[in-house]
Amino acid sequence: MSDVNGTYDVCIIGGGITGTALAYSLCKLGETSVAVFEKSYLSSGSTGRCGGGIRQQWSTKNNVRLAMRSVKLFENFEEDVGMDIEYYQGGYLMLSYDEEEAEQFEKNVEIQREEGLDVEILTPKQVSERYPYINTQDLIVATFCQTDGHANPHKAVIGYAQAAKRMGADIYTHTEVLGVDVENGKVVGIQTTRGYFKCNVVVNASGPWSRQVAELAGVELPTESYRHQIFVTEPLENFFPMMAISFAGNFYMRQAHHGQFIMGQGDKDEKPGINYNVTFKFEKELAEKMVGIFPFLKNLRIMRHWSGMYNMSPDAQPIIGQSDKVKGYFYAVGYSGHGFMVAPAVSEALSELIVFGKTLHTDVSYLNVDRFSNEDVEKEKNVV
C-alpha cells in the first residue's frame, strides 16, 4: 500500500451510538489505538433519528440482562463519560390491547422479576388513577418499570465521542469506508475517502448500511433496513414522565427534556431499503390514534417529522460477534429498532471480546449470527 494514512489496532465503521460507545469502551480497557469512521456527521444515521427510549422490559432472559446492564451504564453515564445526556428514569408504561399479548406480558414480567427487575402489573383502573390524562378505553393490562427511561441520543454519541477522543481515539467524520482489505482470511486494513488505514480489527457498526458494509469484507449478514417515522410536537410543561408504548396498539410516545412529545409507530407495509422521505399518511394515522389515547395532544402542533432506519435481523434481536470467515471482523448490527438503549452494554461486551477474547460483564454469545443456522429462531416479541 503506497498511501498509508495511519495504523490502528481497531477501525470502527459507523459514528452512531455503537461506534462511539465502542471506541469509548476500548479506550477504557487501555486499547486506545482506535479510530471511528463516519461517512457523514456523528449520529447522522439511526441514532440521531431514534426515539431515545431505554427499557429493560423484554421477553427473554438474555435480553433483560443485557438491557439491565445498559441501564446501569446509563445511570453512571454523566459521571463516567462526562456529559449530561438528559437521562431520565421516568419509567416505561407498556399498554396491552390484546388478550394474547396480555397473557404474554404476565409471562414476561415473571422472567423480568426473576432477573431482579422491579416491574408492576397495572389494571386499566390503576392506569387511569395514576395517569388521568390517558384514555384507557379498550386497555386490558399495563406493566410499568420505573427504572426504564429515556435520554438524548445525539448527546450520548457526542459524549462518547469526546470522551474517546480525550483518551486517544481518533474520530473521522465525513469519511466513507470504501473497502475492507482482507489477506489470508484476516483483516489487514480499510480503504476510505481519506486514504488507506492499516488495522487488525474492523468493527461493522454501520446501522442501516450493515449488510453492504459486511459485503466489503465478503461477510454475509442477514439484515435489512426499514424506514420508521417519528414526529415531534411543540413543548408543554413536563408532566408526562414515562415512555408509553404498545405493541398491539403499534405506538410509542414520550415527553422529551424540553417538553416536546416525540412519537412513532411501525408500518407493516414498509419495504426494505434506505428511504429518508416522510409521508403525510403517517402523520394522519398516528395523530388520530394518539389523540384517542392521549386526548391532550389535540391541542398541540407538530413541529418536525423525520424518518430513520430500523436495521432488522430475522428475529428482531441484535447480531453481535466476530465473523468465523474473516478473522478480525466484528459486527454489532441488526438492532431492529432498539440499538440506542442496549449500545452501552453491547459496546462494553464487544470491547471485552476484542481485547480479552471473551466477555466479562454480559454474555452476548446468544446474539452471534450462528443462531440463524438453527431451525428454531426465538423471536423477541417486545418490538414496535
Partner: protein, 614 residues
C-alpha cells in the same frame, strides 16, 4: 398498499405556492393559455393575495408593461383581479406545510384544517425571508424586521413605534424609512455596515433630503432597555465589519427596524428533491434551475425571489416564463413565442449595473445574461435659464422609464435600453410636471428662474397638503436647512397621490433646495425561538462540533416554531467564520416538514370517513 383508506387527496393541474408577483403572473400565464383557471390553485399564507405587494405604498420602477409608476398594493390588486377573472382558484391564509413523499399538505389557518393535494405541475414562488441580525438584547420587544413594520403600518394601519433606528440601507431599509416618515414617525438614522448605500440612490435621496442621516460603515451593537427597546447603541465597523471599540453612539429610539437583506425561502422546494446550491450573489441557497425556471425535480418550476433575490418586475417576468412553460406542457401547444418575448424582457431588465450580482449568480448555473449598452453619464445641462423645465436627478442606471413614456411632448429620452439614464431635450420640455408626478424615484424637479426669486417644483407625498403662501423652511439634498421660502402653489394629484409643490426660493438656490418644512423634527440571540445565543453556538463549534445538524441537535437551534427560517443561515455564517470553511461548502442540514407547526386537531379533522367515538 400505499393508498389504503379513502382517497382524500384533491388533484389540480398546477399548484402555485405563493401569491406574490411571481406566483400570480405564473398562474395568469397558465390560466390564459389553458383557458381554464379552475385547474390552477394558488396557495398563500397571507390574508390577501399579492405577497409583499399589498404592503408596498411606493411606486414601482420598471416600464408600464409591468406596472411601473403604479404603487405596489395597486399592482397586487390588478394582478389578483386578472387571475380571478381567468378563474384561478385561491386558497388564502393557507400554508403548504410540507411536500411529502405521498402528498402536498396544506394547512388552512382560518378553518384550522388540513388538506392533501396532488398536482401535475408545481410552481413554487415562496419568495424570501428576512435575514436576521445578531446583536445584544435583540429579543427585546421593539426589535422588528422591516417586513413586519410594513405589514403593521401599511396593511393593518398600526404604528409599531414612534422613533426608529433602521439597520440596513438597501432598498427595503430606504423604502421603509420613507414610509415611516410619511406615516409621521421619527426616523433617527439608518446605519449601514458596508461603505456604500446598497439601494437605489433615488430612494436614498428621498430620505436624506428629509434629514435622515445614513451612517455608512456603522452597525448596531446593542438594543437598550429593560422591558422594551428604549434605545440603541451603534458603532463604526472595521473592514471585517467588526465594531471598533470607542466609536459607539447612542440613539434614543423605541423601535429598531432590521432591513439587512433577504434570503430565498427554499424549504419547500428542497422537499421536492430539487437540487439546492449556495450562490451568495442570489441571496444564499437557491434551487438550481434552467432558463425556463424548471428545477432539477420533475415538473417543479420556480419564480421570483426564491430563484434569487431581485425585484418585482423580474419576479413577474419569471412567473410568466415558468407559467408559459407549464402551460406548454399541459396543453401541448407551442408557446415559445410568448416565452421568448418574456426572456427578452428579462434580458433588458438585467442589463444594468444593479443586476450585476444576479448576472454573476446565474452564470454559476450556466445561465448567461448580457450587460451594458446603456447610457451611464448623467446630463450636465439643467436647461435654459428662465424657462419652466424639468431636471432629472437620477444618477444611476436603473431599469426604469416612466419619465420617457409619460412625457406628452417626447422631451425625455431613455431609449431602447431601459437601464439608460434619462436625458431631457429642453427644446421640447414644456415644464408640465407630468414626469415629476410619475417618477417612482421622486427624482425629477421643476425649475424656473424669475426676476426676484426662483421656482422649484418638488414631488410631495406627505400630509397635510400645504396651503399657498405658507412660509416654510427650505432644505437641501442632505436635509440641511438652507433658507426660508414660501409655497407658491400646489398641484394636487388625487389619483396617484404624488403632488407637485411649487416653492419660491431665493435666487441661485434652484439647484440646492429639494425639500421644505416637514421638520423631521445583553445577550445576542441567534435562535430566538429556543433562546440560543451566539456564545452558545461558538462554544459548541470551539469544542470541535462543526456540522450544522450536530449543532442543531445539541442546542435545539431551529427546532422552534420558525423551523430554522431565521437562524439557519446565521448559524451557517458563524460556522463559516469560525472554521474558515466557506458557507458554500458546509452542509446545509435537513429541511424537515412541516415548515410551520401543524395543529394535530386539524390533521385529525381532515380524516374524513373515520369516526371515533370520543
Amino acid at each position: 398498499m400505499v393508498n389504503e383508506g379513502p382517497t382524500e387527496k384533491k388533484h389540480v393541474k398546477a399548484l402555485v405556492i405563493g401569491a406574490g408577483p411571481a406566483g400570480l403572473c405564473g398562474a395568469i400565464a397558465i390560466a390564459e393559455s389553458i383557458g381554464d383557471g379552475k385547474q390552477i390553485l394558488v396557495v398563500d399564507e397571507g390574508i390577501v393575495p399579492g405577497g409583499q405587494l399589498p404592503k408596498q405604498t411606493h411606486k414601482f420602477f420598471g416600464h408600464e408593461g409591468f406596472y411601473a409608476s403604479v404603487r405596489g398594493f395597486e399592482i397586487g390588486e390588478k394582478l389578483v383581479s386578472k387571475a380571478t377573472d381567468l378563474g384561478v382558484q385561491f386558497s388564502m391564509q393557507t400554508t403548504v406545510a410540507g411536500i411529502y413523499e405521498d402528498s402536498i399538505v396544506t394547512y388552512d389557518r382560518n378553518n384550522n384544517s388540513v388538506d392533501e393535494y396532488t398536482a401535475d405541475y408545481l410552481l413554487i414562488a415562496t419568495g424570501a425571508s428576512e435575514r436576521f441580525l445578531v446583536f445584544r438584547n435583540n429579543t427585546l420587544p421593539g426589535v422588528y424586521g422591516a417586513g413586519a413594520v410594513q405589514t403593521l403600518m401599511n396593511q393593518y394601519k398600526v404604528m409599531p413605534g414612534e422613533s426608529f433606528l433602521i439597520v440596513g440601507a438597501g432598498n427595503i431599509g430606504l423604502i421603509v424609512a420613507y414610509q415611516l416618515l410619511q406615516a409621521g414617525a421619527n426616523v433617527k438614522a439608518i446605519v449601514e455596515a458596508s461603505s456604500k448605500i446598497g439601494g437605489y440612490m433615488v430612494h436614498a435621496n428621498k430620505i436624506m433630503r428629509l434629514g435622515v442621516p445614513i451612517m455608512l460603515n456603522h452597525t448596531i451593537v446593542s438594543a437598550l432597555g429593560e422591558e422594551r427597546v428604549q434605545g440603541a447603541i451603534v458603532a463604526r465597523v472595521d473592514e471585517h465589519f467588526k465594531p471598533i471599540p470607542g466609536t459607539e453612539k447612542e440613539f434614543v429610539v423605541d423601535t429598531i427596524c432590521l432591513a439587512v437583506g433577504l434570503q430565498p425561502s427554499v424549504e419547500l422546494v428542497a422537499q421536492t428533491g430539487a437540487e439546492i446550491k449556495y450562490i451568495s450573489e442570489l441571496g444564499g441557497y437557491v434551487p438550481i434551475r434552467d432558463e425556463n425556471m424548471k428545477t432539477t425535480a420533475d415538473n417543479v418550476y420556480i419564480a421570483g425571489d426564491l430563484s434569487g433575490i431581485e425585484e418585482a418586475s423580474t419576479a413577474m417576468i419569471e412567473g410568466y416564463i415558468a407559467g408559459y412553460n407549464i402551460a406548454q406542457k399541459i396543453t401541448g401547444q407551442d408557446l415559445s413565442e410568448k416565452i421568448s418575448t418574456m426572456k427578452d424582457e428579462l434580458i433588458e431588465f438585467r442589463k444594468g449595473p444593479f443586476a450585476s450580482k444576479v448576472r454573476e449568480g446565474l452564470k454559476k448555473m450556466n445561465i448567461l445574461f448580457p450587460s451594458g449598452g446603456y447610457r451611464e453619464r448623467t446630463q450636465q445641462s439643467t436647461g435654459p435659464n428662465g424657462k419652466l423645465r424639468a431636471v432629472i436627478e437620477c444618477p444611476q442606471a436603473i431599469p426604469c422609464n416612466p419619465c420617457e413614456t409619460s412625457c406628452p411632448t417626447g422631451a425625455i429620452n431613455v431609449g431602447k435600453n431601459i437601464n439608460s439614464i434619462p436625458y431631457v431635450d429642453y427644446d421640447k420640455c414644456i415644464g408640465c410636471g407630468v414626469c415629476v408626478m410619475k417618477c417612482p424615484g421622486l427624482a425629477i424637479f421643476l425649475l424656473q428662474e424669475k426676476e426676484d426669486y426662483s421656482i422649484v417644483g418638488i414631488p410631495y407625498e406627505f400630509l397635510p397638503i400645504p396651503e399657498n403662501g405658507t412660509i416654510v423652511k427650505l432644505f437641501d439634498k442632505d436635509g440641511r436647512y438652507v433658507a426660508d421660502g414660501q409655497i407658491d402653489k400646489v398641484s394636487v394629484n388625487r389619483k396617484e397621490k404624488t403632488h407637485l409643490v411649487f416653492l419660491r426660493v431665493p435666487k441661485g438656490m434652484e439647484n440646492i433646495v429639494r425639500h421644505f418644512d416637514l421638520a423631521i423634527n445583553s445577550e445576542e440571540y441567534v435562535c430566538r425561538c429556543e433562546e440560543v445565543s451566539r456564545q452558545d453556538v461558538e462554544k459548541v463549534i470551539d469544542s470541535g462540533i462543526t456540522d450544522y445538524e450536530e449543532i442543531r441537535r445539541i442546542l435545539r437551534i431551529g427546532m422552534g416554531p420558525c423551523g430554522g427560517k431565521t437562524c439557519r443561515n446565521v448559524v451557517l455564517q458563524i460556522i463559516a467564520e469560525k472554521t474558515k470553511i466557506p458557507i458554500s461548502e458546509s452542509k446545509l442540514g435537513a429541511f424537515r416538514p412541516p415548515v410551520i407547526p401543524l395543529p394535530i386537531d386539524a390533521i385529525v379533522k381532515s380524516r374524513k370517513g373515520v369516526d371515533k367515538d370520543e
